[in-house]
Symmetry: D2
Subunit: 314 residues, 4 copies
């Protein structure tokens, strides 16, 4: 029997809620619904234990992880499964680099540190990477803050035989994936794109933050599209009632033979945190497997799971 992976997570938001609940659900049901890779190097979906969690919210610190994931502003739904107490109280996250040692100590016993906090605080991301390095733990950076894009960090982790995966997780399924697939399909079939737009609506705290800082995200959305010149991205809409569900409206207007019109209208509904957890489950197993096999630094098989893997401009 394979030894379960011991993971620590930074951030007890919706993505962590989706991960923790999903682990319970799949362990109980044995189901493989929504799973991209049933096993990675022998590790199944249920072969993961969360052994530590860090958060900055006063309300979450000290609570059992299985309670903390339901506290506001989290709004990922309660999945239809039992959720036995984790016995993992949420630890106070680090506020500045002076706390690296404390965090490293708290990582004792963990093999992988999954950094799943909100984007936008590169010093914090790097302080956790430092702590992971100190503790001899693999590090996964799901945020857009640059860590794995820095050759310096990759080199340090590689030298230590520790995997470093990042940056900026690419969702299992979301607007960019869908929009790109449709743009590619039109191109592949020889249609000529005339115009295209994308509207994204959501109700999470992440969404609210992005709405308040719209240009960054809009640009990043455009970068994510293969035919950015002809695509317009409307401002994000923060609609609280959607909770963790994201709704996107896509339109593609094209021309086929004889310059006749081809038109596509799409509505997508998806839970963003599920899209993150569905990739995190693979990243954790890739990191654990690399660690156990003594492969430090970047893991090539993780490249396609990130928007800004090593090699991307910082």
């Amino acid at each position: 029997m394979i030894e379960r992976v011991k993971v620590a997570v930074v951030g007890v938001g919706n993505n962590t809620s989706a991960l923790v609940q999903g682990l319970a659900l799949y362990r109980q049901s044995g189901s493989l619904v929504g799973i991209r890779r049933p096993t990675i190097d022998g590790l199944g979906v249920g072969d993961i234990d969360v052994v530590a969690a860090f958060a900055t919210s006063e309300e979450k610190v000290g609570r059992d992880l299985t309670e903390a994931i339901f506290l506001a502003p989290n709004n990922f739904p309660r999945l239809d499964c039992d959720l036995p107490r984790a016995g993992v109280p949420v630890t106070k996250g680090l506020v500045d680099a002076s706390e690296v040692r404390r965090v490293a100590a708290a990582l004792a016993g963990a093999e992988v540190l999954l950094y799943s906090a909100p984007s936008g605080r590169p010093e914090t991301a790097q302080a956790y990477a430092e702590a992971a390095h100190t503790a001899g733990v693999a590090f996964i950076n799901t945020t857009s803050d640059p860590v794995a894009r820095h050759p310096r960090w990759i080199d340090r982790f590689e030298a230590a035989g520790l995997p470093l995966l990042g940056d900026d997780l690419a969702s299992q399924f979301g607007t960019s994936v869908l929009h790109n697939a449709l743009l590619r399909l039109l191109q592949e079939r020889g249609l000529t794109l005339v115009s295209s737009y994308q509207v994204n609506l959501g109700g999470t705290e992440d969404f609210r933050n992005l709405v308040e800082n719209p240009n960054t995200k809009k640009q990043s959305k455009l970068n994510a599209l293969s035919d950015a010149d002809s695509v317009e991205v409307a401002p994000l809409g923060y609609l609280p009632h959607l909770a963790s569900q994201k709704v996107a409206h896509l339109n593609l207007e094209a021309q086929g033979w004889g310059e006749t019109a081809v038109s596509l209208d799409v509505k997508l509904k998806v839970h963003d945190p599920s899209g993150a957890a569905g990739v995190n489950i693979d990243l954790i197993r890739i990191a654990a497997s690399a660690l156990r096999n003594g492969r430090g630094g970047h893991a090539a098989e993780a490249t396609s799971l990130f928007k800004s893997p090593p090699g991307t401009a910082i």
Copy 2:
């Protein structure tokens, strides 16, 4: 300067209207909008002349091809280009096999015979193939009637150094192409399909015929889908006001991580005859190129352009 391909067409319906008008449009504009392959073995989109056309409708026979394509029940729109008289009067099509010689004689000067009549009359399709063989002309069967699926026919054409391409043209862009791309995308991303449906609405004569014989088409639509078990195809709807435009509504319900719902609703609008002409333009050039290079029988590069290429069960 390359020599233009001389094509004869059987059937003066919407698909031929789209082909003939499109040839004029592209020649005048030099545009490549909606074109999948700008050149095939040096042959551009405009390098094609229609030199003969066969039809059974009394009203079309004897009229110039550029007039006949606008006669009822044709309802493909008039494209925004000049359409100079072709100087090609529509010839009476064959009714039974006794007329093969007459047709073969009428093919003098043609290099390719494009069989673009309605599906459902295999004897007629094969009689035209016979005429093409007699006249030393390449044959393209765009209907679902079996010709190129018969090894016997392939062998005969191959022996004569004549290309034989078929059967059952796969549209440049239509419901099946789109539905399959979406089903594949979900699978590729690890989502689990729960249910899916497809509704097709159209206003052409072809559509009306299919509606009166729905089971055949429904089954064929299902066969065309990669995940047929979970997909339901609603009855075709013949809505005259749509004319040559096809409208399709697609729905895909799936599950991602944690068995959370992912839902996709799509509306597609496209002109079916453009989808056919956009592939015929490639088939004609493939056939002409093969003929000119002395390659008879099946042409491998045409395989993906047919739903039932050689090798498919009859």
Copy 3:
């Protein structure tokens, strides 16, 4: 405290399932969600008891009503409420007119008979009306079979001081209601309709029956539309996975000032049996109130709840 209405129902299909479960749900929750009229003549939504039920299916007869409503082919979902045993075993329904007396006897204690069987058996509908008349019970005909449209039947019930409501229940909310509202809105705003279509998809046994007999329903759908000339109704699609959910796609193309295009695309999802039960709850209370107040025959306030009220051609 008002005396509860005692209702007998004919037909133990999805509509009866929605009615029976809804009665339990509203009684428990006190909620008024989805309720058009909280009280009718003092009668609340929960003030109704089903005291008898008739069905022809061997499997349903003899079972408690609260079990029978979940038997195949019923597929209305289980609502989120407790459903205490009704203590009402399903009675064998009548097969021919010779059984009117047996049914009348079984109606002892009931005030209202709700006829909620499938449409298409006028003799059966009228035999149940006869039984209601014999037993001194109000009669509601929700099917399209003519009962209340017959002046003879209205006169007989009126003479006996018994309410007779019918025919052909108009759903609380469905495709016709929505399509008509949109057509009226365009007209009211001075837009000119160019074309419109409607596609209906569903998964109930009713839907399956309609699909097998499409012309009737299509015509009836058209009759239900205020601007039938410009509206096209596509064939019904029976998609089993939809279960009791109906999905409709509507399109309206119009022109405004300067003949510029206005276009509307709508997707509706709704549970048909809820649409029926939401009206039945009002009909039952109208019938009971009229009966208790000695008003026999047609009740004017029920007119708008039927597609073919008295006065409609038979």
Copy 4:
């Protein structure tokens, strides 16, 4: 034969383009497509002449009105009709109140002044009202700047026997009209609204201005909805390729009987300037008719054509 109405317009934007082109189209075609009221007090749609036009853009001033309406940033499409030169050169609009007399002089011969400039400059709106009053001309304020809401202005115009219609034109057909109609329909049928959203996308200069000042418009959109508490309005999206076309995505989630889900998704496409011109054509005729009949001040029949008619809070 009725005497044609002589109208002066302030603002030579898309709305004026739609008005001027539409007048030509209807006069030529005699069509009534998209017309709400064929005649008002004997005045047909074609019985209107634009005799003066004011604009501030250097490029438009001095050009014939029929040329100026096609200059950037205008992007309302060229309608399919002849547009004979108007012989009306665009006059320099007023910049401050000192120019009231010049404008009043330029109004000689006009009966109605249609104020159709961008909203947001109340002093300008009132200066034009002053000029109209001086010149003895009826005034229509289509902007949200307060004029007709001021009892003082109404009184002055009434005393002078001059009609004053305003404020803030309600489009013939747009997102608010549609959303409200759907909200009302659900309510009328007894459904309970759970949530609703609205996304508006457009490509006009007006839209661009609104996007840069989003809160105002969002609030105004909410005010325009009958059930504002449950409706969320996403940020406007300025998508240049849409030009004068507006696209709106609406969603309504509700509950019917048994608290079962009812869901409505709508896509609307409409030309905003047509929606304005289709109402301006009525306002002009109402104003002219009132003026000719000596009825000054507010005209009751115009009340429903404005979002903020007299009596609304300023």
